[in-house]
Structures are given as C-alpha cells and as structure tokens.
Amino acid sequence: MSASDLGMTFGGTKTLYVEAVKGHTSNQMITVATDVVGTAWSGTVSDNVRVTPIGFKIKSVSFDSFSSGEIYPITKDDGSIVYNTLHWLDDNLDGDVADTGDHYYPVAYKRQAAMVLERKFELVAPSSFSAAGTDLVVRGQGDGGYEFWSGSNDTSGSDPKHTFVKGTTLLTTRDTASQAFPNWIDHFDPMTIKWSFSTDAGTNWNSVGDTKHKIYTFLDAPQDILYETVAKIATAGPVKGLSTPAAVVDAIWTEFADNDVRRVDGVQMSYSHATGPGNVALFGYTAPEMLARGDGRGQCTAWADLLLRTLGAHNIESTSTKVDPPDTRFAVKAMPAQGSGGANYLVGTLAAGGFNFHQVLRVALFPDRIYDPSYGGLTTKSDARSVELKYEDENITHFRFGASTWVANVLGDALQLEFTP
C-alpha cells in the first residue's frame, strides 16, 4: 500500500482508524512506513504515522418490542430467573458469554412484532475522540435479514426508539429492527447478529464481534408464565412456520406423541409416580414442578399441565380434565409412556392396583379429541361412540367397585369414567 493509497501527500497528515487488536483495551502504537515517490526528493523517506485504535467491545444486548406488550419474559425452568432484561451479557468482555457473570437468555415475541435492541459497547478511545464529532455508526446484521443501525448523527427521528448515548467508556445505542417478524411462528436458536461500527457514516466498517440469541415468536400472548422449555417446544421443529392455531395444535402434539419430550437442558422428561424414602414424591405434580426437577419426572397432572401451557403459550384454549373412576379406582392397559423408551409403563395397571384418577387434556378447537400426554395418546371420535367412551374402551381394562371388587371393562358398555370438566 502506498502513501497515495492512504490519500497522503508529501509532508501531509492523515487520520487513520484501524480495528483494535483483540486482547488490547488500551490504545496501541503502531508504525506505518510509507514510501514517498516523487520529484521533490531523490531518496526514500520514512515517516512515522501515529495510529489510534478505538477499543470497541460489545458488553450487553437487551431486547424490547416496538409496540408495548409484544415481548414476553421467559422464565428459567426452575423458576429462579425471569429473563426480562440484559438478554446477552459478556461481563468480562472476553468475547463470549461462557464465563461466570455472563449469560445468554432467550427472548419471546408476538408474531409480527418488531424487535428493539439496546446494546452497550465498551468504548476505549482517547479523550480527543468524540462520537458527536464523528459520524459514528453501529450496525448489527442478524440472520433473516434483521438489521440494526444507530448513528451518532442520526437525528432524523424516523425511529422513535433510537438512542445513541456515549459515556466516558460506555456507548449505548438502541434502535428498531429493519423489519418486523413474519406472520407465522418463528424460532431462532440461535439468531446470530454480526456487529460492526463505522466512523465515516457507513463507508468503511470494522467488525466488533457476533452475539447469538434464542428468539421465539408466538401467535398471541402467552396465557401464563412462559417457561423456557415450554417456549422452545411451542415454537421449534414442526411448529416453526405455522400461523393457524389448529395447525399449531397438531404440530405441538407431535412433540408429545413420541413419548420423548426433552427439556432445554437435554433431559428427557418422564411420566412417573416414583417415591423415595419416607414416601417423598420423586416426581412433580405440576409442569413447573416437573420442569424444576433435575430428573424431569411428573405424574399425569404435570403432563396435562405441560401440554396446556405449551398450547397456552400461543393463547390456544385447552382444559386440563380429571378422569375419575365410577367408584373407587380404575386400571389402565400396559402401554408405553413418556420417557419409558418404548417399554410398557406398569403403574396404574390392574396388577399394580390401578389409579385413583388420571389427567388428560381437551382442546377447545377439537372437542372430539382427548389428549393424553402422559402416554402420548390421542383419542379422536371416529364412530357412534362418544370420544369419552372411545377413550375408555381404548385405555381402561378394569374398574374397581368398593374395597376389592374388580370388574373388567366390557367394550360397548355405557361410559363409566367421569370427566371433569
């Protein structure tokens, strides 16, 4: 590169900015040697050029929505943290979020919402450097074409969410994404945003680094606390790309139907009634309890609750329904259950003494269906029988009346189970 490439004239000066060397947070002196070719001098001339790197490291990213009420806080599965701010934090500025004090939180939006991102950069520059006096621009380019642009001289007011505040060492910028989410469920795991800055209004760009974000979008506002695993199941895999509630119900159900439901930490959750010493339950009664347990175990009430919450994440109406025996107990057939690896789960069978009750789910959109997430079972009305009677015929082997009288369930007999509600 010749001096003329830098626009230097003989004896002239030129301000240069170069991308900071990774690992340095202070200004670095470098020497640029230039060969001056011309008629004024016959020999080679060396000139020292002082280059002032600007330290520019991304510290944090927080998500918001352009319209209020279109971003939903996700709660850690154990209930200990609500992820409502500082969704990405590199506390020690080492370029990753893997260290103590760092974190990487998921974000949930309503479909068609527009992201607003606030990011903080650690800015190390000489006191002579003034963002206001420089056409400094920070840009983020996310997967899917989502772009963020915030400049020191951006006073157009086209983005009411835009802010650009340079402190002594912290540069805080905020703006709205270049496009809104689509009208369907989306699931980024992750969305990578490549950050860069420019000191000449975007003519030349210097890379700052990447941040990665789990971003999920929903049909409508969640009905209840949005747990991390619920948010993931509700938007991942076959659900991504869907826009109608009925299709979403079917797609979410496929995640339960194979009896292999994974928590975000990879643990396979299971249908269980195990107890430990002192008759302590080794399972959860509700979805939050099951999600919080290290082993991910839950009884039927927890599984019905998990499916209800997953559908409810899109504001799809469903009802957890209790199934009671006509008298004291009923027994179910031996069949695989959640997390059983395809083996029959025997609790609740006749030999094991049956169940006091069971819990299933009914979805308002499909009144002729009964979802039994504990076993990955779906009963759909297909003949003259009510769906309840079909469920009974397909799953119940015996009823117990009184203290010890077990009677076989005779197919075709009138419905004996009680469904509430």
Binding site: H273, A281, A352, F355, N356, S404
Partner: protein, 220 residues
Amino acid sequence: MSTPRLRRLSALSMLLWFAISADFSDEARANDQEPPIATPASAPIFATPIGIAGQRLAVIQGKYLDSALFEGVRAPTIPELTPRFYEVRAELRAVDGTSVLLASRLRGESGTMNDVGTVVLNSLIEPGQITLFVAEGPDLYLWSISVPGGSIWTPFKTDKPWHKAAAAYQLNGDSIQSKLARTKDGRLAIEVHEKVSGYNNSFEETKKGSLEFSLLKQWK
C-alpha cells in the same frame, strides 16, 4: 379368681359379641383349621391404653386363611386376581392377659400388588365408642366399634378426594398421617396428611354418626 377388674370386664362382656378365654390364642384358633397357608403370622398390629385399669385396645391381624374356605360365599372376582383373606380382631386386653373380643372382620386382599395388609393409623377412644382409622392397601376406612356391642366398617367416604397422587399407593403410617377428634357438636373430625403430595386435608362428618365427611380445607 375374681378381682374387681375382672368383674368389670365380665359385666361388660355380657353385652358384647365376645369371647373370653385364656385359650383365645392364635395358635389355638389355628389348630381348629387346616394349617395356615401363607404369611404373615398372626400378629398384633396396633395397641393403645384404653382404660383406667391398664387395659389396652389391641388389634390383631390373623394368618392368611385357606381361600378354599370361601369358595361359593365370597364375592366373585376376575380371573387375573387371586384374593387372600385373613381375620382382623379388635380386642380389649386386661393386664392379666384376659382378652375380650370387641369386634372382628374378614379382610380380603384383592390380589393387586398394592393391596396388602392392615394398618391402624389412629384411634379415638371415647366412652361407649372406639373409632379406628385404618388403611388397607391404598384405601382408608373407619372402624367404629360400640361398647357394648356392634361395629361398623366403612370406607372413608368424603365429598372430595384427599389424595393429590394419581397412583394408588400402599398406605401405611409413613405415607399417611392422621388426627381424629370430635367437634363441639359431637361430629367426627379427621385430618389426613398425604405425605407423597404434602397436602393436608381437614374433614368433618356431615352429621353426627353419619360417617360421611365433607372437606373443610385442603392446604400444603
């Protein structure tokens, strides 16, 4: 031999369906029948002081009986299950070893793996009335024994369930805790703590002597 204590017992026994016998041992009873076919051996399963003279209420679980005894008289069952039977007796036992049978019943285990044994969880001893709260398999029962004479064995009937657990666990003193009491107007009050769920349930009799209960409160 006639002591004041025994005279009181004898008078009581006139009005009871009872047996007074120094020979009322399990061994003697067993000798009248075929050899026992199963375990456990006859054994006391509950005892509590009952009177000012040092008497005790004892509940004894008998040995398993030959089910052939009940052919033709027991309730029909399904072929998948093999029921077993034993006797449960509530006795008044004097300090000198004399026993009075207060009540007796036949316990039938259905044959499912969670339906084994009899456990007396709690008792309420009142003049003229002994109330036992009993677990058999996964179920709760009340055994109301009048003194003198007569007893009622009934499932613990409630308007709302006490269990949050869907599985029918074998109940015992570790899995269920209970309290028995009377309300001011004489109705029976029962508190049940289901350990596996951590829930407490407070029930009261719907009316005095009905042995049917309504749930007042459920809390964790």
